[in-house]
């Protein structure tokens, strides 16, 4: 068992990511939805390169061919109060 933490926001280990790929996940989007990797405060900025490397090792898909999840605002977490008080 490899217990290295890969996704710090959601506390996911390398082994958990590899398990999910062995169960059939083939894309970053599937891994995100099944394990929550990339859904935390960093939105994948920390973990994504590592997850992509693991996915490449497990599936043989080249990094440059990998489809990445859609990047949307906000780029950094922002409080609802700041959003509510800011003028359009």
């Amino acid at each position: 068992m490899d217990n290295k933490i890969i996704c710090r926001c959601e506390d996911l280990t390398e082994e958990e990511i590899r398990q999910e790929i062995r169960q059939g996940a083939r894309t970053l989007d599937e891994l995100k939805r099944l394990t929550r990797t990339g859904m935390g405060p960093c939105q994948g900025k920390t973990c994504r390169p590592m997850i992509m490397r693991i996915l490449a090792e497990e599936t043989g898909v080249r990094l440059e061919d990998m489809v990445t999840p859609t990047v949307r605002q906000p780029l950094v977490p922002i409080t609802l109060g700041d959003l509510a008080h800011e003028e359009n």
């Binding site: 977490p77 922002i78 959003l83 509510a84």
Partner: protein
């Protein structure tokens, strides 16, 4: 990919997966599910994840209450390796005018007839359920403690894996490009990866269901519109139930994970399949939600997204066979509440396709109702 099948299900959302599982469970195992991206990549995986039973019509009450019973034992029934994360922390529906409050009263009467535990609360009592609720202008609220939250990705995955164990084939990243007909019936489905001959097709394509129907030469009275959602980082427990207002069209719930989901139905949206997220939504939504639940001011938004509601003229789904094309079955037009009734829809569609006795009469939800002018008016939709 198989060259022939008994049934081809188009759409790898919760509906398609639940229908495939229920077909296989009843012995019809020669089934293929076609999904153009990955499982729950469409409306299912983009929904607000709420499961409620507080509806205003008998049909929706029976669909949602029956589905809740199934969610409650789903991990065991589907022998899921994960967890569908059902948490029954209730739904609090808030009324801001007398007319709405009167409607809530009628709904509660009907709900009680069906044995649903739901209570009418005065504003002060509503604040006992959600202590941080701003009760300015609130007339009353109804609260059902057994409504709640469930994880749409895992429910879909659980159905899909159980279906596969029974022999169903699931083809992801496979796009349907055509439907072939012969003498009044269906002969097959064409995809970008080849053709499958099949006499029965189920259109469970969510936001694209009208496009699939068009491939079979059928025009459906449905359209898709974009609805947006945002989510905060996980915070300490702040409120338990889903809080929902039909007046403002918003809903918000703290998930078991601690993050708070906030969504809203906007007016006058374009009828298309656009799922881009907008800044305007973040502004509008944050102004409204910090007024309703002031402590949310301090919560940080980490992500926003959008998904499609597949809308029918009466905001109630179309279920069952199409009268003009033998072998074409529909599970579509959920109008924003497909996830929470999917377990029952899976059972009903399988029964209808296989000609088995129906667990509940769904003929009122046929596509013919729009031509007959027998609209099914559900008073409780965001």
């Amino acid at each position: 990919m198989k060259k022939t099948a008994e049934v081809v299900v188009i759409g790898g959302g919760v509906s398609g997966a639940a229908i495939a599982y229920n077909l296989a469970k009843r012995g019809c195992k020669d089934v293929v599910v076609l999904e153009k991206e990955y499982l729950s990549s469409g409306a299912t995986g983009r929904c607000g994840a709420g499961v409620r039973q507080q509806w205003g019509t008998e049909m929706n009450l029976r669909l949602s209450m029956g589905s809740m019973r199934m969610f409650e034992r789903m991990n065991e029934e589907l022998e899921y390796r994960g967890d569908i994360e059902l948490t029954q922390t209730g739904y609090l529906l808030v009324a801001y005018n007398e007319r709405q409050w009167e409607q809530f009263g009628k709904n509660v009467e009907l709900q009680h007839q069906f044995g649903l535990d739901v209570r009418k609360l005065k504003p002060r009592e509503a604040r006992e359920v959600v202590p941080c609720l701003n009760i300015d202008g609130l007339v009353g609220a109804t609260y059902c403690p057994t409504d709640g939250f469930c994880n749409p990705f895992h429910v879909t995955q659980a159905y899909a894996e159980a279906a596969e164990r029974l022999g169903v084939e699931i083809e992801t990243f496979t796009t349907v490009t055509g439907i072939e007909r012969n003498n009044g019936g269906i002969s097959g489905v064409v995809t970008d990866k080849g053709k499958i001959s099949a006499p029965i097709v189920v259109d469970a394509a969510g936001g694209w269901s009208q496009e699939i129907a068009m491939m079979a030469g059928l025009e459906l009275p449905v359209y898709s519109e974009r609805h947006q959602v945002m989510i905060t980082e996980p915070v300490d427990p702040l409120f338990a139930p889903m809080v929902m207002s039909f007046q403002h069209g918003f809903y918000t719930q703290q998930t078991p994970h601690g993050s708070i989901i906030i969504g809203m139905g906007e007016k006058d949206l374009p009828h298309d399949t656009d799922v881009r997220a907008s800044w305007q939504f973040l502004h509008k939504m944050s102004k409204l939600i910090t007024w309703v639940l002031p402590p949310l001011e301090k919560a940080k938004v980490v992500r926003q997204w959008a998904g499609m509601y597949n809308m029918t003229p009466d905001k109630t789904p179309i279920l069952g066979a199409h009268p003009d094309l033998e072998g074409f079955h529909m599970a579509l037009g959920y109008s924003g509440h497909g996830f929470m009734i999917a377990p029952m829809v899976g059972v009903l569609l399988a029964e209808s396709i296989l000609g088995l006795p129906a667990s509940l009469p769904m003929d009122k939800l046929d596509v013919g109702r729009f031509q007959r002018g027998e609209l099914f008016v559900e008073p409780s939709v965001v």
